[in-house]
Amino acid sequence: MVEARGLVRRYRHVTALQDVDFRLAAGDAVALVGPNGAGKTTLMELLAGVDRQSAGSVKWGAPDAPVRVGWVPHSPALYSRLTVRQNLLFFARLERVKDPRREIERLLDRADLSEVADRPVAALSTGTRQRVNLAIALVGRPSALLLDEPSATLSPDQRLRLWQWLSDLRTEDGLALLFATQSVQEAERHADRMMVLVRGKSVFEGTVAQLLQAYPQGSSSGDAAEQAFMQLIEAAPSAA
């Protein structure tokens, strides 16, 4: 579905991403795990087409059959003075969705946003804004969804509802998911495999079980995975 090779992103004095390869197949759920400044958002933005790589390549599908990708940025990307419905309608028209009003009603219903559809985004709670953020990413019925730390600002119950919705999307619509997170537990719970980024480099790719095999702890509990993750970070080369 997507294949990225040798991705490099340099800013003026900083190399944010260095020679990263990545692959996402249809129906996959992959977690990008790493501490702050690891390059998760940079990789996500390069894959989403928001930013351009300094070197390397990103291919989404085949040239004759491009893949539609939904992007959920870390901070909700919404027009705060417009209502939820107006935001959805605006992006639906830009996505050239056929019968945009009907599609919007479907999304409002699915995202449980019907009650707040005509309220300005600025008046919504953080959790509701994140749902609108996700609903906009689903306009145009993408085959893959890129989510940049989607649960970082949510309360536990909002987090639960979000992951339930994403799980439904994956099982019912066959969406491929790539999400960035700082939590190994979240990766373990919602992803088939994970890629660990440290200081712009990919230092691990595999399942949590494989991580524990590489850095064995006393048990296979969540804490053990976190400890293995910490060891991985400490063992990672320091120079970017």
């Binding site: 800013y11 933005e45 989403a48 087409g49 928001v50 930013d51 351009r52 992007w71 940025p73 901070s75 909700p76 990307a77 919404l78 027009y79 705060s80 992006f91 830009l94 996505e95 906009i136």
Partner: protein, 433 residues
């Protein structure tokens, strides 16, 4: 205060910026810092000097004195008219034929003719005042000579002798000698017993005495001759209410520039701050399309605001706006160019508040530079949309024909295209950083 003390650049900006804006505003409104240029048309080529009594005053001296206050360019009548119409000179000063002869005769008050420009009314007003001042000084020189000559004449009338004034020569016997002769004749008539004739001469003697006494008032009376030359000031025939047109054009420029620049700068920066710009840029809209949308919005906003302002001017003031068909495309083009300028600022700034502040701080001085007449300010103003915008507004409001707007319209069009392209490049480079 501690914060400001630790940030000298901010402190400098806080003090320097208002001062800069104030200086630019003063320069725009008063045309300070440069001497205006006037065309001198000398139609009196018969003589070059003015003979006043024993003294000879040169017209060139007067022109040289004038040249200390204004740039004087000697031109023919047609050339001067063309230069005034083209805005190359602020006024035309004409020395009419027979000016020197009239001045020398003292019988006719010679008049200088000054025609000031309607294109730069404030400058024209300044030139008129400067020339009035110069004519006054020259009049003072002439008047002093005239007064001195008249006093000499009065003295000659009293004591007698040769006199030359206003180009005429004569022999005056003088009242003192006349009185002596008449008194002798009076005495002789009395001695001869011709009492009746003596009585007649007594009345003549009485007249001579009275005249001698009254001539004592000659000095203050002569001082009343204070203006040998008159300056006749008119404004060029074509055009309408220049000072009002200038003010309306300036107000229109300031309003539309602020609205256009702030709207587009704030709009693009707000989209960036709300992260929607990133969402738009990932294949939904290319940077040129995003810029074009802002430019068009600014153009429409400026069109609406401009028409409202001009409508209010037309209804509430004595200035007749007119030319509505021309105003529509001009306002759209000006709004588009202001919008493109604003998008560049908005794309560079990272926050909406920063973008708005930067847009305001850049726009105000550039608008004032557009209002300042003169080559240096004009060159700066021509590389931003505000200079050509002001010229077009002023031409539509004040000039009799609108043929002169095309160079500025073309300039606005080029600047709109250049700034739109530059804004797209800046947006592409900066918005992903």
């Amino acid at each position: 205060m501690r914060l400001l003390a630790r940030a000298p650049i901010l402190l400098l900006l806080l003090i320097g910026y208002p001062v800069l804006v104030a200086l630019l505003a003063a320069a725009a409104l008063q045309g300070q810092g440069r001497a205006p240029t006037i065309a001198l048309v000398n139609l009196d080529t018969a003589a070059q000097t003015v003979q006043v009594g024993d003294q000879r005053l040169s017209v060139d001296d007067y022109i040289n004195r004038l040249a200390k206050q204004v740039h004087v360019e000697r031109l023919g009548a047609d050339q001067a008219r063309q230069a005034l119409d083209a805005g190359r000179v602020e006024a035309v000063l004409t020395v009419p034929a027979g000016f020197i002869a009239d001045l020398q005769s003292g019988l006719v008050q010679p008049t200088l003719h000054l025609v000031t420009s309607r294109r730069s009314p404030i400058e024209g007003d300044a030139v008129a005042h400067q020339l009035q001042s110069a004519v006054y000084e020259f009049n003072q020189s002439l008047a002093q000579n005239y007064v001195s000559q008249i006093l000499r004449l009065a003295n000659l009338i009293v004591v007698g002798g040769q006199v030359g004034i206003f180009g005429r020569q004569g022999q005056v016997i003088g009242l003192t000698r006349t009185r002596r002769i008449v008194a002798q004749a009076h005495d002789q008539l009395l001695q001869r017993g011709q009492v009746r004739l003596a009585a007649d001469l007594a009345s003549v003697l009485s007249f001579i005495n009275a005249t001698q006494s009254n001539l004592g008032l000659a000095a203050p009376a002569a001082s009343a001759i204070a203006s040998p030359i008159r300056l006749d000031i008119v404004q060029a025939e074509h055009g309408r209410e220049p000072l009002s047109a200038f003010g309306v054009a300036a107000a229109l420029l300031a309003s539309l520039a602020l609205v256009g620049v702030l709207l587009s700068a704030g709009g693009i920066a707000a989209e960036r701050e709300e992260h929607t710009l990133a969402r738009l840029r990932r294949g939904l809209l290319a940077p040129p399309a995003i810029v074009l949308e802002k430019v068009l919005f600014s153009a429409l906003a400026c069109l609406a605001l401009g028409l409202v302002l001009l409508g209010a001017v037309d209804l509430l003031t004595g200035l007749e706006v007119g030319r509505w068909a021309a105003w529509v495309p001009v306002l759209v083009l000006a709004g588009a160019s202001f919008g493109a300028f604003g998008v560049i600022i908005g794309a560079i700034a990272r926050e909406t508040r920063t973008a708005l502040l930067a847009a305001l701080m850049l726009t105000l001085p550039l608008v004032f530079i557009g209002l300042i007449p003169g080559i240096a300010a004009s060159r700066v103003a021509q590389v931003v949309p505000f200079g050509p915008g002001f010229n077009v507004f002023q031409t539509l409001l004040a000039d009799p024909t609108i043929g002169g707007i095309w160079p500025d319209v073309l300039s606005l069009g080029i600047l709109t295209a250049v700034f739109t392209g530059a804004a797209a490049v800046v947006l592409d480079r900066w918005s992903s950083a």
